[in-house]
Symmetry: C2
Subunit: 199 residues, 2 copies
C-alpha cells in the first residue's frame, strides 16, 4: 500500500516503511499509475490521478477543535496520549489524552520567525543558528534573536508537556533533541492515516 | 529640563514628569527652540536642533553585551535589580543584577508575529486578540494563533524572571497585567537618562 500526504509545496509518500518527499507535481506524476491513498491540505489540485483515493473522511479525530487541518488530524490520530509537535513552516502543538484531542496551538516556524525580525529592522536580520547556547543570557544581537526563537518554542512545549512529546516535520528532529521525554517520528501522519484505514 | 528619546518613527518627550509622543519631524520642530537632552537609535537625522544635546556618552551601562541599543541601555540603567521588558515593535527582555546587565534577548512584537503567520498561510492571518483565554487549550485557528503569541511572550518572561519585572513600551501595559510581580512605567528610559546625567 502507498500513502501520500499532499501539502502546499511538497508531497510526502510512504511506501514499505520509508518516507520520500517530492514537489507536488513531480510526486503526482511519479506515482500516477499506482494505487495511492492520500490526504491533502490543498483542495486546488486538479491533476490528482484517478486511481488515487482521498481518505479524508476516514480521518475521524475526537475533538472540539473547529477547522483542524487534515494533516494535523492524522498526526494526532497516531498518538493516544501525549503532546504532538509538527515543526515545519508553522509549528503546531497538540495535546492528546486517552485518544481525545484536547486542543492545540500554532507557533510560526523558525524561518517565519526570522522573517518577523527582518520586518522589524534590518539590524535584526541575523543568520539562523539553531545551536545557540540556551543556558546563558545572550550577549549580542545574533544570539539574542536565536535564543528567543529556540527558547520560546522550547518553553511553550514545556508548558504544554504532559508525558511523552512526539515530534515530526522538517525541524522536528532538531527540536526533539531539546527534550528528554521526546520521540522523533517522520511517519506519524502515515500512522494516523493507517489507523483511519483500519490497517 | 526636557528629555527626548528619538526612535525610528516616533520621538518621546519627557517634561515635568509627563511623556508625550510625536512623529520625529513634528517633535523636532515643536521643541526646536528648547534646550533638550536626547538619545537617538537612528544617526541619520540631520535636522536635530543645535541647542539639543546628545547624551549617548553619558549612558554607561555595566554590560558585556555587544551592540546594545542606546534606548535599551537607558531603560536598563533605570533598574538596579530585575527583569526589564520593553514591548514595542520588538520585545526586548533584559536582566539587571546589582546594577550589572547580565544579558538579554529579543522577541518579535505582537504585530510582527502576526506578519509571520500571514507569511506562512493566509489561513493563519487572523485578528489580534490580546484577551485570548490562556488557561485552556485553543479550539480554533484564531485562538490557536493568539494563544501562541501571548503565551510564548509570557512563558519566556516567566523563564527569565528574577524578582520584579519592569514593563515599558506600547504593549508594556497590557503585558504587565499577565504578571503579579510587575510594574508598568512609561518613564523608564527617561529615568535611565537622568541617572546618566546624574540628576
Amino acid at each position: 500500500m502507498i500513502l501520500a500526504d499532499i501539502g502546499n509545496s511538497y508531497i510526502k509518500v510512504y511506501q514499505k516503511g520509508a518516507v520520500r518527499s517530492f514537489e507536488v507535481s513531480e510526486g503526482l506524476k511519479r506515482y500516477g499509475s499506482e494505487r495511492v491513498y492520500y490526504i491533502s491540505v490543498n483542495n486546488n489540485y486538479t491533476d490528482i490521478p484517478k486511481n488515487w483515493t482521498d481518505i479524508a473522511e476516514k480521518i475521524e479525530l475526537d475533538t472540539s477543535y473547529l477547522g483542524l487541518g487534515i494533516d494535523r488530524k492524522a498526526v494526532c490520530m497516531a498518538v493516544t496520549d501525549g503532546v504532538i509537535v509538527d515543526a515545519g513552516s508553522a509549528v503546531t502543538v497538540d495535546v492528546m489524552q486517552n485518544g481525545v484531542h484536547l486542543g492545540g496551538y500554532i507557533l510560526p516556524g523558525m524561518q517565519a520567525m526570522m522573517g518577523a525580525y527582518h520586518s522589524i529592522s534590518p539590524k535584526l536580520a541575523v543568520t539562523l543558528n539553531p545551536n545557540v547556547e540556551l543556558g546563558v543570557l545572550p550577549q549580542n544581537t545574533k544570539d539574542a534573536v536565536n535564543y528567543a526563537i529556540i527558547s520560546s518554542i522550547k518553553s511553550m512545549i514545556q508548558t504544554t508537556a504532559r508525558g511523552k512529546i512526539y515530534f515530526t516535520g522538517g525541524d522536528g528532529k532538531f527540536l526533539s533533541k531539546l527534550f528528554e521525554n521526546s520521540i522523533y517520528d517522520e511517519t506519524l501522519v502515515f500512522q494516523g492515516m493507517m489507523k483511519g484505514l483500519e490497517c
